[in-house]
Amino acid sequence: MNDKGKIVTGLVIFAALVTFPFWYNLGKAAPPPEVVLTEKAKAAGECVMPKEEIRTEHMQLLDVWRDTQVRDGQTVYINAKGKAYTMSLSNTCLDCHSNYKDFCDRCHAYASTDPYCWDCHIDNPKEGE
């Protein structure tokens, strides 16, 4: 009784099936998302934190902002450069980035995350935009 042949064949088929999505998508990587900046965001020129940091750490920053605002009643954030901002997702972040669909959603969809900030924080545009 030697089933070596069968086992090896089975393993090869199994490996091929498991890795199929990788072969199938080879060379077809989904393009990284392009976010659209509003005129206001462009005019501001810089964000609360440097671009690379805000891109990867905005969730940590928002977490700190929320606790500081709600628990301690402090409302002003002074960044490393010494510039002051109001700590508010609704009134600071979403004031510049008032294009939820073309800004927030693009990366979140790409990264397959589904934050529900906008269930409560109103996805601007504010009047006149």
Partner: protein, 264 residues
């Protein structure tokens, strides 16, 4: 069979060792990339923020002449805080509302109360109790008392909608969002968030306004009926009013220590 089992154990041992070994590496990498919100940044209070050690409200019931005066307060508060207008009574959300003396003060009403009190409606809201039962009931610390100024606040992000706080509050100051409130807000104030279905809400003594140097919205439109200030400051307007007039609080026998006083 013998051998394969040995092999298996060996491989398992090696994998476990690798698994254990990577922990510190991952931590070191995380530390090197500085995985925390900008450490050099600072936070501060708004320069005009109003501060107190125990905020309180005094309602001068003698000045109430009509129900419209109270409706104006309700409107100002509900507009400011995106409180939805729901028709069905059991779905309604209220931060401040009007009620009769015998409802607000069930243990203080007698068979003969002054005509004025009997016929006027009084504004009622969260009492921002000194010893708040809602805070003790809340399992998530979504409801908490700010030690700095005595305001009983909610962090809506944390609320899981268990409604223990509603059962614990003896004043019915809290409302639950049985439905998504958004479609029922006639005119949204974009500076303030809304709530979502499954979250409790109540009067917050306008913390967001105090933080930028403004008095509560209801006080501003109250035509002198409401006075807001620091109960611990003997020179504050509220302390003066309480020194010169007889005032009562709601259900004091329960030991909650309300911070809302009614001059009768």
């Amino acid at each position: 069979m013998e051998r394969s089992r040995r092999e298996f154990l060996k491989i398992a041992g090696v994998s476990a060792a690798i698994g254990l070994g990577t922990g510190p590496v991952i931590e070191a990498v995380a530390a090197a990339t500085g995985h925390q919100a900008a450490p050099e940044a600072q936070v501060a209070h708004h320069p005009e923020a109003l501060k107190a050690t125990r905020w309180g409200m005094v309602v001068d019931t003698r000045k109430i002449e009509s129900a419209e005066q109270i409706e104006r307060m309700v409107e100002a508060c509900h507009k400011e805080h995106n409180v939805p207008m729901l028709e069905e009574a059991r779905h309604q959300i209220k931060w401040i509302w009007e009620t009769h003396f015998h409802n607000a003060f069930p243990s203080q009403s007698t068979d003969r109360i002054s005509e004025h009190l009997e016929h006027t409606l009084l504004p009622v809201m969260c009492n921002h109790c000194e010893n708040p039962p809602c805070v003790r009931a809340c399992p998530t610390k979504a409801t908490f008392k700010r030690e700095s100024d005595g305001i009983v606040m909610m962090d809506f992000h944390r609320c899981i909608g268990c409604r223990f706080c509603m059962a614990a509050c003896p004043y019915g100051s809290r409302s639950f969002n049985f439905r998504d409130p958004r479609p029922f807000i006639a005119e949204t104030n974009k500076a303030y968030p809304t709530r979502m279905k499954g979250v409790v809400e109540k009067c917050n003594f306008c913390v967001e306004r105090l933080a930028v140097g403004k008095l509560p919205a209801c006080v501003e439109v109250s035509e002198g009926i409401l006075t807001f200030g620091d109960l611990n400051d003997p020179d504050s307007e509220v302390s003066q009013l309480l020194k010169e007039n007889y005032a009562i609080r709601r259900k004091t026998n329960l030991g909650t220590g309300p911070s809302v006083y009614y001059i009768v």
